[in-house]
Subunit: 275 residues, 2 copies
């Protein structure tokens, strides 16, 4: 999916919501356990109920990987089920030396190899340029690079002050934005880091940002929309637990629809205000 196509979907749906499919066998409604593939069944119903209100789905790969081959099969089927007009994100936080990153890219982008072809994958920056480039070799696929994450541990290294003046996350943005433009590269910036969004936008005014941390982690949708939105919207705001686990009963899909519509309506306002 191109940047223009993504923006068109945002305008059409009045939404920049990304739904995180952090689907956990221990948390899904009990009645689904009678199905052959409970995780796939759960995801299917969540997708059916919410796809009018969001523009992207982000399966969190750890949740599938933890169940071994069975989990990867649920993931493959889920990706297959997501409507074509939704942007798909493999939240995998991969990254390794060049020949290895190339294989991770094949795992998420090359259907003929792995059975899966996501639109994008999240990548960790620590190993530098040649660990990121192999993901950029796949046409029309996106890298979403970690810049500033939403967790407490982000303080350990990401905010370190460098000798030449900026902080590590700013250096990651500056350096990596020379590797690819805003048609191929996005950044993860946690919603819990809203006060840093202004700094982020000074360095990468045009790139899309994937914003986790609204909801369960405490970030404010209004604040990130106000500080982060650009003329192509430039935001994909993720919510996972607040939507997919809104209920653990038979009505879980309806409740997921309700919660995502609530966010979508709020987003509609912010698009009118800040776009």
């Amino acid at each position: 999916m191109t940047k223009q196509q993504l923006f068109s979907e945002i305008v059409r749906k009045n939404s920049y919501l990304c739904i995180g499919l952090d689907s956990d066998i221990k948390k899904i409604p009990k009645f689904l356990l009678d199905f052959e593939d409970p995780i796939y069944e759960f995801n299917k119903r969540i997708i059916d109920a919410t796809s009018d209100f969001c523009v992207a789905y982000k399966p969190n790969i750890a949740f599938y990987e933890a169940s071994g081959t069975k989990g990867w099969e649920s993931l493959r089927k889920t990706l297959e089920y997501i409507p074509q007009n939704c942007f798909t994100i493999a939240d995998a936080k991969r990254g390794d030396i060049g020949n290895t990153s190339h294989l991770y890219a094949r795992a998420f982008f090359d259907k003929s190899a792995s059975g899966m072809s996501f639109d994008s994958v999240t990548v960790a920056p620590y190993m530098g340029k040649d660990s990121v480039e192999p993901f950029l070799e796949f046409p029309e696929k996106w890298v979403i690079l970690l810049a500033l994450t939403s967790n407490e541990g982000s303080k350990n290294f990401q905010f370190l002050q460098l000798q030449h003046g900026c902080q590590l996350f700013e250096e990651v943005l500056k350096t990596s934005s020379t590797w690819a433009d805003d048609e191929r590269l996005m950044y993860v910036v946690g919603a819990t880091q809203a006060e840093s969004l202004t700094k982020v936008r000074q360095i990468v005014p045009n790139h899309f940002l994937l914003i986790p941390g609204v909801g369960a982690q405490g970030g404010s949708l209004e604040e990130v929309s106000k500080l982060g939105m650009n003329s192509s919207c430039g935001l994909l705001v993720n919510s996972s637990r607040g939507i997919i686990y809104a209920s653990s009963e038979k009505d879980f899909a309806e409740r997921a629809a309700f919660e995502s519509e609530k966010i979508q309506l709020e987003m509609k306002n912010y698009l009118a205000l800040y776009l």
Copy 2:
């Protein structure tokens, strides 16, 4: 496996060789393609041929993940096949917010969840303490944290000079070595960074280091052994391509045995000299 058990194996085998199972369907001998699971068949024969000369095996997870569910099944069977007295490393370079890292830990450490239980997993440091801790909650399992990698891109961020005096990789070592001791935590330090090994050893004198980059990437075994060895050896030096692809013909396993014995004999010398 405990640190003491690992050291005992090193002394018993006179080796600190780790063999990287970067097993690629495009590179293994053609005659293996007639088997039901060619990658597993390749790994089995490599393991049979080399397990007297090495103390650890390191499947590079990307190589399995790139083949989807089929690849994960080859990985599971390979791990099952590795002899109990060999240390096993899931070279996965994972790391995410706490609840997600916990699931990655289950993927590699919890056999009841994923069918696999490695001794250790490689983890990326960028997301900080709470992204690493969930891996440390599994008793007798190890985290191998990226400090200084062997690739060109390591220069982008790992060597950045911080305001308070040290470089980023030194800060990663200093900070993370307060999270766990040398009985649970190792570090990745590329063999191509030998000149920095002295600095590394000043900060973490007692920790084991996993050293990739000898062989195909050009690092010197003698240099890293001289600069990096401590009183428990403290080194696992990895070779992948130079061993497993020493031949692409029917004699590949014999040639792998020959190449690994050659390294083991060199290591025997260094253990006599520097231990």
